[in-house]
């Protein structure tokens, strides 16, 4: 039996979880700051760090209490080392190191995105070779895993992450922050009537969303200059269809090329209802690849996913030491740089 206590503070959420055997959640406490940031239209790093500091002790003790364990039962402390906001990461790293030092536990540094992929371990047993589409505010990546701890980034965004494009388009349309859920909702009542370009990216499995963002911006400017009303629902729908079509086409290409046993979605944008619908429809043509769509709760940042990834890292002996520091630009294990 393996018991991992995991800490995640890379962005908005102060989170701690206790995970048994890599796929059983004994507790998963998340304290979100999203309402605070809505006021500012985005994450405010200093505010974020301060709130993490205020929350972290309570979140950890609640996670241990709710799991019904004591620190003596814990095998190792896993924590998100990066990537993320530097000030926010520091809080989690310091908390993890303090626990490790006080209770004489090994430390397991975890890359945030490996956590997102391993969130799917709570849904089903992962099968390899596996393909993961990781989509969030800061990332858009296709990752291939030949086994449970090899990560090959097949393609990634050349400019903006897809979640960032959603946020920026939402800001242009005065829809508030975060942009993903509101655009997803509005698009349901709109039509894809606006023609938007499908940006080209360097490699055939790479992504690009900057040009699409610029196109939306220029379209809104042009229509307003001509005194035309921009129908937000239709523009939201047009943007979403164009952006998601790009994700789908690259993903299918990778499925065809690498014939994975399993395709998993990961990251905050995996909560998008239209993406879930599109990928489910398209993957029906590939019965040899099992599609796993994580439930909403494990798409957003949480510590249980860090515990799941941390369990695998721990089994591979990938421990860190007390000199570890947060790395806001941490590369994935095996990422080509």
């Amino acid at each position: 039996m393996t018991m991992i206590l995991a800490i995640e503070t890379s962005c908005d959420e102060t989170a701690c979880a206790v995970v048994k055997d890599g796929n059983e959640i004994l507790s998963n406490i998340v304290s979100s700051q999203i309402n605070v940031h809505t006021l500012y239209g985005g994450v405010v790093p200093e505010v974020a760090s301060r709130i993490h500091v205020e929350n972290i002790s309570a979140v950890i003790s609640e996670a241990v209490r709710k799991a019904g364990v004591t620190m003596a039962d814990i095998d190792a402390i896993a924590y998100t080392r990066g990537p993320g906001l530097i000030g926010s990461l520091h809080v989690g790293v310091q908390a993890a190191k303090t626990l490790a030092w006080t209770f004489h536990k090994p430390l397991v540094p975890v890359h945030h995105l490996t956590g997102h992929i391993y969130a799917n371990a709570f849904v089903t047993d992962l099968k390899f070779p596996l393909l993961a589409l990781v989509v969030s505010g800061g990332h858009t990546e296709l990752v291939r895993m030949k086994d449970d701890w090899s990560f090959e980034v097949l393609g990634s965004t050349m400019d903006d992450a897809i979640g960032e494009a959603y946020d920026k388009v939402a800001r242009v349309l005065d829809l508030g922050y975060p942009g993903g859920p509101v655009i997803d909702r509005m698009a349901k009542t709109g039509q894809p009537l606006y023609r938007l370009p499908q940006p080209k990216a360097a490699g055939e499995l790479d992504f690009s969303f900057s040009g699409l963002k610029t196109a939306v911006l220029q379209l809104v400017d042009r229509e307003r200059r001509h005194g035309n009303e921009v129908k937000a629902e239709d523009l939201a729908c047009s943007f979403q269809e164009t952006a998601l079509r790009q994700l789908i086409s690259r993903t299918l290409k990778a499925v065809e090329e690498y014939k994975p046993a399993m395709l998993v979605l990961a990251g905050g944008v995996a909560a998008n209802s239209r993406l879930r619908q599109m990928i489910t429809e398209e993957m029906a043509a590939y019965p040899d690849t099992e599609l796993v769509i994580p439930p909403m709760w494990c798409c957003t940042d949480n510590a249980a996913m860090i515990g799941a990834a941390g369990t695998v890292a721990w089994k591979h002996g990938l421990t860190g030491d007390l000199s570890a520091a947060a790395d806001p630009a941490l590369e994935m294990p095996g990422e080509k740089s």
Binding site: Y40, P45, L85, G137, D160, A329
Partner: protein
């Protein structure tokens, strides 16, 4: 102060201009990137990374606010887009004197971070792909730097 205007016809030319500047840049220099969403700030910064011999692809730092790349000297890519109207200590000052090239997008939102001597780079969308790039050097070292376009 010395000013210079250059034009680029496509993204690759914008990158090449960035590469030229970065290749001649000295440690601790600070470049301010100005321009609307979609003006080409990140594109030009990608060129700067190339000019520093950085193999890793430079992507938008909006989400993380700061990205760090290792090359001939480190590139600190800061994006203050999310910080509009928020005055705060980010701890970014340490990078400005840390032997790297610091590139700040949306620097108007972090006025306290801007050193007296710097290079200001304003990108304007002229037509579909054409960009007008205004370079403004404050300080002797930066004025000298602009000679790469002579």
């Amino acid at each position: 102060m010395k000013k210079l205007v250059i034009y680029t016809e496509n993204a690759e030319e914008t990158r090449a201009a960035g590469a030229k500047l970065a290749a001649a840049a000295e440690p601790n220099m600070v470049f301010l990137m100005k321009g609307d969403l979609g003006a080409g700030k990140t594109t030009m910064t990608q060129g700067m990374a190339r000019g520093l011999g950085i193999a890793r692809h430079v992507t938008s730092p909006t989400f993380n606010l700061l990205k760090i790349y290792k090359g001939r000297m480190p590139l600190y890519h800061i994006d203050a887009y999310r910080l509009e109207g928020v005055s705060q200590d980010l701890g970014f000052e340490e990078f400005l004197n840390d032997d790297g090239l610091t590139v700040i997008e949306w620097s108007q939102f972090v006025p306290d971070l801007i050193p007296e001597e710097h290079l200001s780079i304003s990108l304007h969308l002229e037509a579909e792909d054409r960009r007008r790039i205004e370079l403004e050097a404050s300080g002797e070292a930066y004025e000298k730097l602009l000679e790469v376009f002579a």
